[in-house]
C-alpha cells in the first residue's frame, strides 16, 4: 500500500517539478529505473511466496540500481556502453518477465 502511494507521489513530483536530468546521469538513469523495476517485481513475487523481507528488499533494490549503473559506467569506460546497456536491459527484462510469470501463476494459477 505504502509502496503504491510512494510510487504515485514520486510520479506526481516528477511531473510537477519537471526535473532536468544532469548530462552525466542520462545514460544511467533509464538502466537504474529498469533495475529498480526488476527488484520491485522480484519483491512482489517474494511477497506472494511468503518470503518477503523488508531489509532484503531495500538492499536488493539499492544494489540492483547501483550494480546496473556501475555496469553501464564500466561499459562506457571500455567503449562498449551501448552494448552493455542493451545487455543489462535484456537481462533485467527477462527477469521481470519471469517474475511476472511467477506472480501470475501464484495469483491466477495460470
Amino acid at each position: 500500500m505504502i509502496a503504491a502511494l510512494g510510487l504515485l507521489v514520486g510520479i506526481v513530483l516528477g511531473v510537477i517539478l519537471q526535473p532536468d536530468v544532469p548530462l552525466w546521469m542520462q545514460p544511467y538513469l533509464p538502466i537504474a529505473v529498469v533495475a529498480a523495476l526488476d527488484a520491485v517485481f522480484g519483491a512482489a513475487r517474494a511477497l506472494l511466496d511468503g518470503v518477503f523481507d523488508d531489509r532484503v528488499f531495500v538492499i536488493s533494490f539499492l544494489s540492483n540500481v547501483v550494480v546496473a549503473a556501475l555496469l553501464v559506467f564500466l561499459g562506457d569506460q571500455l567503449g562498449v556502453g551501448a552494448q552493455i546497456s542493451t545487455g543489462v536491459v535484456v537481462v533485467l527484462a527477462m527477469r521481470i518477465f519471469a517474475n511476472v510469470a511467477a506472480i501470475r501463476r501464484r495469483l491466477l494459477k495460470a
Partner: protein, 259 residues
C-alpha cells in the same frame, strides 16, 4: 539480484493460491513501520526517476538515445545537406555581388565606360588616339569600292578601332559602291573622289604593316597605277560621326545572366 525470488516447492496448488491472495491482502494493508517508510521512499525515488528518465529521453530526442551508427548517419545527412546549402549560398552570394558590385558611382562609371566604348564602336562619338593617316591617289580607275572595302577589312583585321574615310565614319553598316559616273566611290551614300583620305585609330605599326602585306591593298593600288601613302601618327582625331538612328524593330532583350 533480488534474493526474494527463490521458488518454493510446488505445494497443493489451490492452497498456495489462497495463501498468495491472503499475503497480498496483508501486504496491501497500510502499516506505519520504519521499513514501510523506507520502502515508500524507495518507490518515491523510483517514480521520480522514471518520470525524469522519460522526460529526459523525450527532451533530448534522437541524438541522446541514438546508437553510434545512427548518429553517423544523421551526421552524414547533415554534411550532405550542408554541402548543398553551401553551394546554393555561393551561387546566391555571387548573384548578390553582381547586383551590388561597387558603389553607385562605380557602377555609373562602369556604365559610362561601356557606353563610351559602344559609342566609338557605333561611330556616334568622336575618337582620338594613335593610328595612321592613309592617302590613296587614284591613277586611272585604280581605286574601286572593292579596294576601299579591302582596305577597311585589312585595317579591321589589324585591330583598327575607329576608321574614317573622307568625311564618313566607317561603322558596321557602312557600304561601298562604285559611283555610277565612274568618277569615285560612294561610301554609305556619300560620293568620294580621289584622293581618298583614311584616318584609322589603332596600333600604328600593325595597321601600316597590314596595308603593306604582299598582295594586299598597297600592292593592288600600285599595280593599278595608283599611289598609296601611309603616315603613322601619335594622335589621330576622328571627328566624323555616324548619325544615331533609333531602331525601329529591335529592342534590348533581358540579358540571360540576369546581371
Amino acid at each position: 539480484m533480488s534474493d526474494e525470488s527463490t521458488a518454493e516447492p510446488a505445494d497443493d496448488a489451490a492452497q498456495e493460491e489462497q495463501n498468495a491472495r491472503a499475503r497480498l491482502r496483508t501486504a496491501l494493508a497500510p502499516r506505519a513501520t520504519v521499513q514501510q517508510l523506507v520502502i515508500g521512499l524507495l518507490f518515491v525515488g523510483l517514480g521520480f526517476a522514471g518520470v525524469a528518465a522519460t522526460q529526459a529521453s523525450a527532451q533530448t530526442g534522437l541524438l541522446a538515445t541514438a546508437r553510434e551508427d545512427e548518429v553517423v548517419r544523421v551526421l552524414d545527412d547533415l554534411t550532405e545537406r550542408q554541402i548543398r546549402l553551401q553551394a546554393e549560398q555561393r551561387a546566391l552570394e555571387a548573384a548578390r555581388d553582381r547586383l551590388l558590385s561597387g558603389s553607385e558611382e562605380q557602377r555609373l562609371a562602369a556604365s559610362r565606360a561601356r557606353a563610351d566604348a559602344l559609342a566609338i564602336l557605333a561611330g556616334t562619338a568622336p575618337a582620338v588616339g594613335t593610328g595612321i593617316r592613309v592617302t590613296l591617289q587614284d591613277g586611272g580607275g585604280a581605286i574601286t569600292s572593292a579596294v576601299l572595302l579591302d582596305a577597311v577589312q585589312e585595317l579591321r583585321d589589324a585591330g583598327a578601332e575607329a576608321i574614317q574615310i573622307g568625311e564618313v565614319r566607317v561603322v558596321a553598316s557602312t557600304w561601298f559602291e562604285d559611283d555610277a559616273d565612274g568618277r569615285g566611290v560612294s561610301v554609305a551614300g556619300t560620293v568620294l573622289t580621289s584622293p581618298y583620305r583614311l584616318l584609322v585609330i589603332g596600333d600604328a605599326a600593325t595597321l601600316a604593316t597590314a596595308l603593306e602585306i604582299p598582295g594586299g591593298v598597297a600592292d593592288t593600288v600600285r599595280t593599278a597605277g595608283g599611289s598609296i601613302d601611309v603616315v603613322q601618327e601619335t594622335e589621330v582625331v576622328i571627328r566624323a560621326l555616324q548619325p544615331v538612328s533609333t531602331p525601329q524593330y529591335a529592342r534590348p532583350a533581358p540579358s540571360p545572366s540576369g546581371s
